[in-house]
Symmetry: C2
């Protein structure tokens, strides 16, 4: 999967009725993508601006529709920045997608529903010579892992976690930025739809055939290791997730990392959406990840990243210190305090 966007391209991001708190992809792209976001579509917030809600990113107007966006910007693409439960296409978005294609914009989506399979969009896109880019469609030529990732020259760092949505992608991208600021030749290996949209390439590991999931990760590692000295690999799920642990396990054995960074959300006590499944002590996770890796490609938890957004600064500092104690490794909240303490432990 490769997305035809350059750093000097610009996109409009669709986030109707969900910006910013339930628009994880939109906010991820605003914060981390190289290309510019020149408008956000949210019909509930038309007239406001991105800066009203997300500080520290380039500001942009929020408008009610693609037509309205085209009045104020000349984008290269429309990017779907939200995902309803189930990953379907919301029919209320159809006029926006239609307007984008008719204006010559590519459309980029990470839904389970594929834009390319929609007859109207496919016909319009063919007519207008624009691309419909479904980042969640895995390549057709995936195969089983050859067990080769442990032999690459690059240093491979994988983020793991105690649950889904504990900041694995965010931590990975903060580490990437901090490493590059130090002059390290670092690369990002994206494994989910938001990461792929940000990076412009990648394979959605959760959507591959189960037998090929580790092979998909391996393929990305071998490719990216040709170009970089250090690779930061976006983790997924958790090794004790009732539904997604297989994907997590495939990431661990497919990437064969030299070091792990353990992410956790402060105060989280049960698996998100599976409230009968308690989150065990973080030491249990350390033992499981390291134990499972050992016979395949030994690694260790070298640092921790704690999401402290629900705490004030002082409580956050205390929580980070306690987390570091428990892990017996350096830890921080990389969004709040920067990624340097983690990076020092890794490089």
């Amino acid at each position: 999967m490769s997305i035809p966007l350059d750093p000097d391209d610009s996109v409009v991001v669709l986030a109707h009725e969900k910006f910013p708190d339930r628009a994880k992809t939109a906010v991820g792209v605003l914060r981390y993508a190289d290309y510019d976001v020149t408008a956000v579509l949210d019909r509930n917030r038309a007239g406001e601006t991105v800066g009203d809600h997300v500080p520290d990113v380039r500001d942009a107007p929020i408008v009610e529709s693609m037509d309205a966006a085209l009045d104020v910007t000349d984008p290269d693409a429309l990017l779907i920045g939200i995902s309803p439960i189930g990953g379907g296409f919301d029919e209320s978005w159809r006029p926006d997608v239609r307007a984008a294609i008719e204006a010559g914009c590519d459309v980029i989506a990470g839904l389970h529903f594929f834009l390319e399979d929609d007859e109207e969009f496919a016909a319009l896109a063919a007519e207008g010579d624009v691309d419909l880019i479904d980042v969640r469609r895995p390549p057709a030529d995936l195969t089983v892992s050859g067990g080769r990732a442990r032999d690459v020259d690059a240093e491979v760092v994988l983020t793991v976690g105690t649950d889904c949505s504990t900041g694995k992608m965010t931590t990975t991208l903060e580490l990437l930025t901090a490493a590059r600021e130090r002059g390290v030749d670092a690369g990002f290996v994206p494994t989910g739809q938001t990461g792929i949209m940000i990076a412009g390439w990648g394979i959605p590991v959760d959507r591959t055939v189960a037998d090929f999931a580790a092979g998909a990760v391996e393929r990305m590692i071998l490719e990216a290791a040709e170009d970089h000295d250090v690779l930061f690999v976006e983790g997924q799920g958790t090794i004790i997730h009732p539904a997604y642990s297989g994907v997590t396990c495939s990431l661990l054995h497919g990437s064969m990392p030299d070091a792990l960074v353990m992410t956790h959300s402060v105060g989280r006590e049960a698996i998100h959406g599976y409230e009968d499944y308690a989150i065990p002590p973080v030491e249990t996770y350390v033992d499981l990840y390291e134990g499972l890796a050992a016979p395949v490609a030994p690694t260790n938890v070298a640092a921790g990243a704690l999401d402290t957004r629900t705490l004030d600064d002082e409580a956050a500092r205390e929580a980070v210190a306690a987390y570091a104690d428990t892990l017996d490794a350096p830890a921080t909240d990389p969004v709040r305090f920067g990624a340097d303490e983690i990076l020092d432990a890794l490089l």
Copy 2:
């Protein structure tokens, strides 16, 4: 996936140039399926019989082609009982499949290549009103696991192992037979193509979307638990497999078993096909499987099954005793010595 075969139906099994040693599916079906195998196709062994090679199963002629089989039997289906590396369709089989469809037989295959996608076969099958059954095609409506398997009333037993091809399916089916002989209402949950062909239903877990693998297992457990007191679940791969561990992990967390049976092949020292990956001591596997299950649905290795086919009887007895010592649990070779010792530990 459901296969339209009843116990009084009969099938012809295709195993060209590979019967019996490289025809795992053919031999599995001969040994364990309820329906009758009335001929085997192997052009290298035409004129011999099944009984010349596989004792203890109902004898049948080996013939050179489907045409020759139709001279001596009136089957309901042709079943592809071998799988080339890569799971492709060998064009030398085309005349046999064509002859089967023209004779009104269904055709059952577990290849990565789907018969239904072959234009000639699809057209012939439509014309003749026969079914092309690709058991490796997962259902289209799979979804994520709800974490519900631990709540079923049935006792769930999962076979796990130290590698692929350590006897997980065989052990599962020997346990099923032995339990039924004791009058236990036991069911079989098939998770791979051979198991599905034997049972006539099931989902090929390795071929599902990675995010849905545990959900596919859960769906089968919930369904089968309605009908049985004990479920024997066919395991796949191993939790430290460089390529397939994600599938194994999804099976563990999707089935949430009450007990595990650890399978191993005596003398195996490295992962099959991944010779640089040593097989660690079996205690390591016990710790990993039990540790990984504990936070989700606690379980333990209650017994062991050792494949001793390379040893003589005395050496086999010694190997089984040593294996039981190491596991600190009862163990046997269920094919050689029967499954009773394992069953005693489980029920």
